[in-house]
């Protein structure tokens, strides 16, 4: 709370103008007091003694003259043990607790503690009296689910401190003092397991940022093999509605090879979050043996929830991701959809009467998107360990047309592009990532040249397919036709993957390698078919056998048997192997 007082002077949608009588700061939180309710808002423009705030609630009922309380604090989240497994709204309000208090509906002005105050954590001190510490140094640890949660010197405590006292091992809540630090002037600063951090500031307590080098396995073949994502990297999934953006993210959130997943359901359907909410607690994370929910945080600000908190929600999510990265963990943040976040900015910009850019998005759209994705990264911490935040965002382009500002601005900054196409989703070719339009700058599971060689069959096959539409099958040579069949084959058995099949939904890197090698064999083989009809017939059978195998658990007897039969089926037909293909197969062994 500051000494500054304010009063409402105007309301326009969710933007409220306030006259203030003293100092205020940008992005400061202010509460508008309406009939006893405190409505949270954020200052987004200051001009003389008039400030504009965006209100995180419906503004009905506000009137000119209503008092406004200035907090002096920027919009911030609570960081500490207890975040994992939680379901928050865009402002870090715990939604299940809100439900207990307010019932079915999200009543305005109900703000609850993000971190439970009643849980006693098993504290193990690490620092001792006399130690010299600075921000982000570890003071102690508590177990949180499958992780050792490090309790650190609050990130906002700049300068150096001497540890004066540390509580002995024992059970404490996040609100209890666990250590006292002494600053340079000799004053004591009590520290708890929890502190606050402003969401719009990146957490920067690491030693250095590294270049992403290690693939983040998603267990989706087309991604890991052809368009890989790196730990600490960024990627985007643009696509028209119904193309499969959400399903792809849901699958990734289950299977990704990371420690922690943060889902930001940003301005899309509430129903889709419900599926995750109900299913995750039942699913087992093979990495930890605990429920998937225990490695997940959900930030849920769906389309009918206040638009200003939608704008905040992606920052809330990325701040929590950065916090866990600071413990040396690999965190994946999935945002669905960043377009809704951009639209929230556009709504606000319109009310501020800023000069609009393309499609009325604000001129700072590009730089804002860029600085959001810049919060991803793999970093070396001061003690030498590495931690990462990977960000994947869906984009929902108007009309499914990628030539629009949000898609374009995103493509400029991300390291991989998984473009979903209507054509592929209509043909039920899931995941509908377009193999000819998409790209990745990251190193994948497999050697890039080998992958490029295989990819060549997709592009050449597609060319033949186009040509065939004009001249018909009759006018196509058998050699071209074979290229076409090989491309279609790779697409059907490798790129496409059944997300709803228990086995096919997630494919381990080993299995991907083995399967890729088998596909290379087919692509590189010479065949001697008497006519196209015979070629098509054989490839149809081949495809069916592969699809069957894709549904069988890897390595079990049934699999081995089917695999051997498949090999015999192929051996019987092929007549020679391309040298390049032979080398690739060798390199994969």
């Amino acid at each position: 709370m500051t000494n500054t007082k304010g009063a409402v002077t105007g309301v326009n949608g969710n933007m409220v103008s306030v006259r203030v009588d003293g100092a205020v700061s940008m992005n400061e939180v202010a509460y508008i007091i309406v009939g006893g309710k405190h409505l949270k808002s954020e200052i987004i423009k200051i001009q003389g003694d008039i400030v504009q705030t965006q209100v995180f609630e419906m503004t009905k009922g506000i009137k000119v003259g209503d008092p406004v309380e200035l907090t002096g604090e920027m919009l911030a989240v609570e960081l500490g043990p207890g975040l994992l497994g939680k379901i928050y709204d865009g402002l870090q309000n715990p939604l299940p607790e809100v439900a207990k208090k307010a019932g079915y509906f999200l009543e305005a002005g109900v703000y609850l503690d993000a971190l439970p105050r009643d849980i006693k954590w098993d504290w193990m001190p690490v620092a001792k009296a006399g130690d010299k510490v600075e921000r982000a140094d570890v003071l102690g640890t508590v177990p949180e689910g499958a992780f050792t949660h490090q309790v650190m010197v609050p990130f906002g405590m700049h300068g150096s401190y001497t540890v004066k006292s540390v509580k002995p091992a024992g059970k404490y809540t996040v609100a209890e003092e666990v250590a006292v630090l002494q600053d340079e002037s000799g004053a004591g600063v009590p520290v708890t397991m929890m502190f606050r951090w402003p969401v719009k500031r990146a957490i920067d307590c690491y030693a250095e940022r590294l270049k992403p080098f290690e693939p983040m396995v998603t267990k989706t073949r087309i991604i890991d093999t052809f368009f890989p994502v790196a730990k600490g990297g960024t990627y985007c999934i643009p696509g028209p509605f119904g193309a499969g953006k959400t399903v792809l993210q849901q699958v990734t959130s289950r299977n990704a090879d990371v420690d922690i997943v943060i889902l930001a359901a940003c301005g899309e359907r509430a129903g889709e979050v419900v599926e995750t909410l109900k299913e995750f607690p039942e699913l087992i994370d093979p990495r930890t043996g605990k429920s998937l929910m225990e490695r997940t945080i959900i930030v849920c600000n769906t389309s009918s929830m206040p638009v200003a908190s939608r704008e905040a929600s992606v920052y809330t999510a990325v701040t929590m991701a950065e916090y866990y990265r600071q413990m040396g963990l690999n965190v994946l943040l999935l945002a669905d959809s960043t377009s809704r976040w951009a639209q929230a900015m556009r709504e606000m910009s319109g009310r501020l009467e800023e000069i609009p850019g393309e499609e009325a998005f604000p001129a700072y759209l590009e730089s804002t998107i860029a600085s959001f994705y810049e919060r991803a990264g793999i970093v070396r911490l001061k003690d030498g360990r590495a931690g990462s935040v990977t960000i994947g965002g869906t984009v929902s382009p108007a009309g499914g047309n990628f030539e629009e500002p949000v898609t374009q601005a995103t493509l400029k900054v991300v390291g991989a592009f998984h473009g979903l196409s209507r054509e592929r989703s209509d043909a039920r070719k899931y995941p509908a990532i377009h193999p000819l339009d998409s790209w990745s700058k990251y190193k994948g599971l497999l050697d890039a040249d080998s992958v490029a060689w295989a990819h060549g069959f997709l592009s050449r096959g597609a060319e033949v397919g186009q040509m065939m539409k004009v001249v018909g099958e009759e006018g196509t040579s058998i050699d071209d036709y074979l290229v076409y069949l090989k491309g279609e084959f790779l697409d059907a058995v490798y790129l496409q993957q059944n997300s709803f099949d228990a086995v096919d939904a997630s494919v381990s890197p080993e299995r991907q390698k083995s399967m890729f090698s088998k596909c290379v064999r087919i692509l590189g083989s010479t065949f001697d078919f008497k006519d196209k009809e015979a070629a098509r017939g054989w490839f149809n059978q081949l495809r069916q056998r592969y699809l069957d195998i894709n549904g069988i658990e890897w390595g079990i007897d049934v699999y081995k048997k089917a695999d051997a039969e498949l090999k015999a089926f192929v051996d019987e037909r092929v007549s020679g192997l391309d040298k390049r293909a032979a080398r690739i197969i060798e390199s994969l062994e």
């Binding site: 103008s17 019932g103 999200l106 509605f241 389309s303 009918s304 009325a360 108007a398």
Partner: protein, 432 residues
Amino acid sequence: MKKVYSRIESIKGNVISVKATDVTYGELAEVKTRFGTSLAEVNRLDEDLVSLQVFAGGRGISTGDEVRFLGNPMRVSFGDSLKGRIFTGSGEPRDKGPALHENLIPIGGPSVNPTNRIIPREMIRTGIPMIDLFNTLVKSQKLPIFSVSGEPYNQLLARIAMQAEVDLIILGGMGLKYDDYLFFKDTLEEGGSLQKTIMFVHTAADPVVECLMVPDLSLAVAERFALKGLNVLVLLTDMTNFADAMKEIAITQEQVPSNRGYPGDLYSQLASRYEKAVDFADSGSITILAVTTMPGDDVTHPVPDNTGYITEGQFYLKGGRIEPFGSLSRLKQQVNGKTRADHRAIMDGMIKLFAAYRDTLEKKSMGFQMSAWDQKLLKYGELFEKEMMDLSVNIPLEGALDKGWEMLAACFEPQETGLQTKLIEQFWPKKA
């Protein structure tokens, strides 16, 4: 008693402004003109300047007309007495019944806490094979019918309403042609459903601001009934008119348009209505079916485009039939595994064959030769269009599945259908 203001500062389109104090955002006022009294809603406050959108429109308002603030936001009466009644977009009676003032509830309330939602679980039967079999409608779903003017979308809406086993139907008409209004009234009356129907109707002849109120009025009432345990079906037609009304107001208020003149918050505005669809775990539910006409049959037009991003699929009505391609029920997998063992297989299998039929048609039109297989597909496709797609077909899901097998047997050998051997053994019609 609130103060009366008798000096209007400006009139722009349907928006007027007055100098007034102690007015809340979203409050209602009455504007008395020589044509009668109209409601108006506060949509902007700037110091003592209050802007209001006048329900009856700005036409004919004089700067000397009286504005009286009512001290409350837009509300609607709620209770069983609404059943069988017809109201305007201002909530006034459109039928001969009395005006209702009891038990007023606010409209446009807060959204449901996502953690209180449940996974949808119950099918709504319509008797239309293209829906029940191929894109099953689910209780609490929000689903638009994408169409173009001239198509029988209102007939389709009325038919689903009559057939669906729901406790209450709420019809929200926006920019409805008077004939269509009468059509709904007559159809529901003939089908004996009028007593379980409430209508909020804005016709094409009514003031545009009233159009904006219709979804909120309909959904506020629906929500209360759902909380009392009723399964409510809300029909909204035509949401494109609703969006156009928003566009009109936004432009007169000099808001910067984002896309083809529509305001930047079109998505949020549509979403806050559609997201009212819900299944309350221990109470009733709201299902929303909404017509969205696509200007120029263009699905990338901002209204269908934004709608598609919000709703749980869409029915694509074209040439008087629900198109299998382009139509989608995103919730169908929640229910179609529990209907009959062959439901999913028949759904996928028949659509794949129908897609092959469309390819064959294309080949045929380009003059390529038709193989024996092509001939089979042609026979199948024609049968499919007649027996499945034609909107006059009215059979329960099980009947449609049986018919599906018969059609397959009439056109193909079992192994040509791509269906699992196990299902074929169980369901393939035995030759007589």
